[in-house]
Amino acid sequence: MISAEQLVGEEQAEWYSLTPMERWRESSKLWEVYLAMGGSLDPEPDTQSPFFDPSAPSSRLVDGWPGLRVVRRGGV
């Protein structure tokens, strides 16, 4: 029998092994970091959705970035 680690790798297998409430807590941690960094709650446009409306008003900034900015790029 194939194991979860073999199939999807350790990280995803660990996620699979959590209980729903443990996943909820882990997801909440991601939220805290994301929001602390200025991430927006407004999702990206879902262009494949039948509900997608290109004329719908968006709260997104005109440059398309939510709140995060690249402040440093690794040099070569």
Binding site: I2, L7, W15, Y16, P20, L41, F51, P57, S59
Partner: protein
């Protein structure tokens, strides 16, 4: 019922909007209006927040302006392609309770998987992960119901073949409903991969067909909205 439910069932790690399947009754809509008012939510795009649109299968989209949820998106639906009526979904729901006493009413995993069979690319890997997570959690001592669910919904060729080898009788019984199980039972991996791809293609096409008249309605509503009074 959307990304947040996928988080709880083990597929997604992060989702920014919140989707609700609701009972489309006048009384329930009043309660929902009050809750959305608390969130300072406004309807965005079309259709308007009316019972008739929800009953036809449209989703209504909101953006919240409450300081604690600024720009959060909330989508509300009552009818989905290939999914049972709300009353049946409600009977089968899963209730999770957090340490702080908050309850979360989730669409059952079986129903969520059905609801995710859309025309969008991103839903298909999600379905795969949802069923994988369930399979790895319960495969040691599966019930007949779980076996049936996995045989009908697993999208991972390796796991389908493992499952078919371990439980040949239920596999054969379900081949009429899902012919590609014959390939899983025969260990024909490359044919199984092709059959899964074809199965997905047909579902996505069915979803496009289902949405064609509804999209036309939305287009009409958009045109009406853009016309000057």
């Amino acid at each position: 019922m959307g990304g947040q439910a996928c988080v709880l069932y083990g597929a997604a790690e992060f989702s920014r909007d919140t989707d609700f399947a609701i009972l489309a009754s006048p009384a329930n809509l009043s309660r929902l209006r009050a809750a959305l008012a608390d969130l300072q939510a406004e309807v965005i795009a079309v259709p308007p927040f009316e019972l008739k649109y929800l009953r036809r299968g449209h989703a209504v989209h909101f953006r919240c302006h409450h300081p604690e949820a600024t720009n959060m998106r909330v989508d509300v639906m009552t009818k989905m392609r290939g999914v049972d009526s709300f009353s049946k979904l409600w009977q089968r729901r899963v209730t999770l309770r957090a340490e702080d006493g908050t309850s979360y009413e989730l669409m059952s995993l079986h129903d969520l998987v059905k609801a995710k069979k859309t025309q969008r690319d991103k839903d298909w890997p999600m379905i795969r992960r949802l069923v994988e997570a369930d399979y790895f959690r319960y495969r040691e001592k599966p019930t007949a119901k779980e076996l049936r669910f996995w045989f009908l919904e697993l999208r991972t060729p390796e796991l389908l073949s493992d499952l078919a080898a371990a439980h040949s009788d239920p596999c054969l019984k379900l081949t009429k409903q899902r012919p590609l199980l014959k390939l899983a039972a025969a260990g024909k991996q490359s044919d199984l991969v092709e059959a899964l791809t074809e199965e997905e293609r047909l579902e996505r096409e069915a979803d496009r067909q289902y949405w064609a008249p509804l999209k036309a309605e939305l287009e009409n509503l958009r045109r009406t909205r853009l016309q000057p009074a």
